[in-house]
């Protein structure tokens, strides 16, 4: 009876703790702390660290890709410039070559025409020479014949008449050369 009254009195004061409940809370909290320290916090922290690393790694990778892309772009631009310069150079060369070929052809054509002209001159000269030679003999003969007919048979002395005709023609030729000069 006495025991019950004391028990009831202590129970009635809410500020007086039950020692067994304190023990349970203490042990329970200690167990929880142990699990948290040993497993839960390290597991979460590991995940957090891995995630941060993955994100930072991703950023680094993206930056690297960016750098590579801009390097490639630079290279392409360089190649394009080179190709343009090359094309210009080839075009210039072609133009120069064309001009050269044209000049050569012109020169060749001029030489050919000069050669043809010279040949023609030579031919004309030789033909003229031939004509002069044939004329000379024929004109002499004709003139002698003509003169003989006019003057009579007296002039049939061939030797003399030929000399007269030759002299006459030489004079004529000299006269012609003097006029040409």
């Amino acid at each position: 009876m006495n025991q019950v009254i004391i028990s009831a009195a202590t129970e009635a004061n809410p500020l007086v703790p039950n020692v067994w409940e304190m023990g349970v809370v203490l042990v329970g909290f200690a167990v929880l702390m142990f699990i948290v320290v040993k497993f839960i916090v390290p597991m979460f922290e590991k995940t957090f660290a891995e995630r941060a690393e993955a994100i930072e790694g991703g950023i680094a990778k993206a930056e690297k890709a960016q750098a590579e892309a801009s390097a490639a772009l630079e290279e392409y631009k360089q190649q394009l410039t080179d190709a343009r310069a090359e094309a210009n150079r080839i075009r210039e060369e072609a133009r120069a070559e064309g001009a050269q070929i044209l000049a050569d052809l012109k020169e060749k054509a001029a030489a050919e025409s000069a050669r043809i002209t010279a040949q023609a001159h030579v031919q004309i000269e030789s033909e003229r020479q031939a004509a002069v030679v044939s004329l000379r003999s024929e004109v002499g003969t004709l003139a002698t014949t003509l003169a003989g007919r006019i003057v009579g048979e007296a002039l049939n002395d061939d030797e003399r008449s030929a000399r007269v005709v030759d002299r006459f023609l030489a004079d004529l030729e000299n006269q012609n050369a003097g006029a040409a000069k």
């Binding site: 809410p14 007086v16 409940e21 304190m22 349970v24 909290f29 839960i40 995940t47």
Partner: protein
């Protein structure tokens, strides 16, 4: 006041429902977070995300923001355990069949506040040596003639009153909430048993009030877990940086 024990049945100082719930809370918290942290994927699933949110809340919003610096990680396990241990044990009060916040029994609150008390004093001494007690009780920049007045007040408020308020705040809010909801429940039962139909009808008013109080209690249960953990962080921070306070 207290329910009789479960084992042995009906004896005052046996294994009680409160003890069972405390043990259950440890199982619940450990199971939940071990499951949530088990897979450790970089892109979290739903469970892992919930676990990370909860863990990140204590880690960043309490430990990192209050203690800060490089060494807050050392105190994350304590703050994390405290927060969820108190939260789960408080929420019991809002679950119909369980309906008993563990810390409405003062013993648990004494134990947790005691652990925190010993912890922050130990941190203070380890950080500053025995000079810590001078740093904690003699504020700098105070005129010498006020010191005889200030020092006793600081001693009382820091070393005597602090653990008491720390534990009783949790205990009192839980007990009061528990009592109000229980009284409202009993009141509804009493009124509904009345012969008078009008008196019977007033039970509806009490029911409405009881539901509102129930919601308020649910809020306070979560809030007190946060407050207790926040104060712990503040005490630890004060002990760590006693020389700059």
């Amino acid at each position: 006041m207290h329910l009789p024990a479960i084992l042995p049945w009906g004896v005052a100082d046996g294994f009680s429902k409160q003890m069972l719930l405390v043990i259950l809370s440890v199982v619940i918290i450990a199971t939940f977070f071990l499951l949530a942290a088990r897979k450790q994927q970089l892109v979290p699933g739903k469970l892992q995300f919930a676990g990370e949110m909860a863990y990140g809340f204590v880690r960043n919003s309490i430990a990192k923001d209050i203690i800060g610096g490089k060494d807050f990680m050392k105190y994350v396990p304590l703050l994390f355990s405290l927060f969820f241990f108190i939260l789960v044990n408080n929420i019991y009060g809002a679950i119909p069949v369980l309906q008993l916040p563990s810390f409405s029994h003062v013993g648990g609150a004494y134990v947790l506040a005691g652990i925190v008390y010993v912890t922050w004093i130990a941190i203070g001494i380890r950080k500053n040596g025995l000079k810590y007690f001078k740093l904690a009780t003699v504020p700098s920049g105070v005129p010498v003639y006020i010191l005889p007045l200030i020092i006793p007040i600081e001693i009382i408020s820091n070393f005597l009153v602090r653990p008491v308020t720390h534990s009783l705040r949790l205990f009192a809010t839980m007990l009061a909430g528990h009592l109000i909801v229980m009284i409202a429940g009993s009141g509804i039962e009493f009124l509904i048993m009345q012969e008078n139909i009008l008196l019977k009808g007033t039970s509806l008013l009490v029911l409405g009030g009881a539901i509102a109080m129930y919601m308020l209690e649910a809020l306070i249960m979560a809030l007190q877990a946060y407050v207790f953990t926040l104060l712990t962080a503040i005490y630890i921070e004060g002990a760590l940086h006693a020389d700059s306070h």
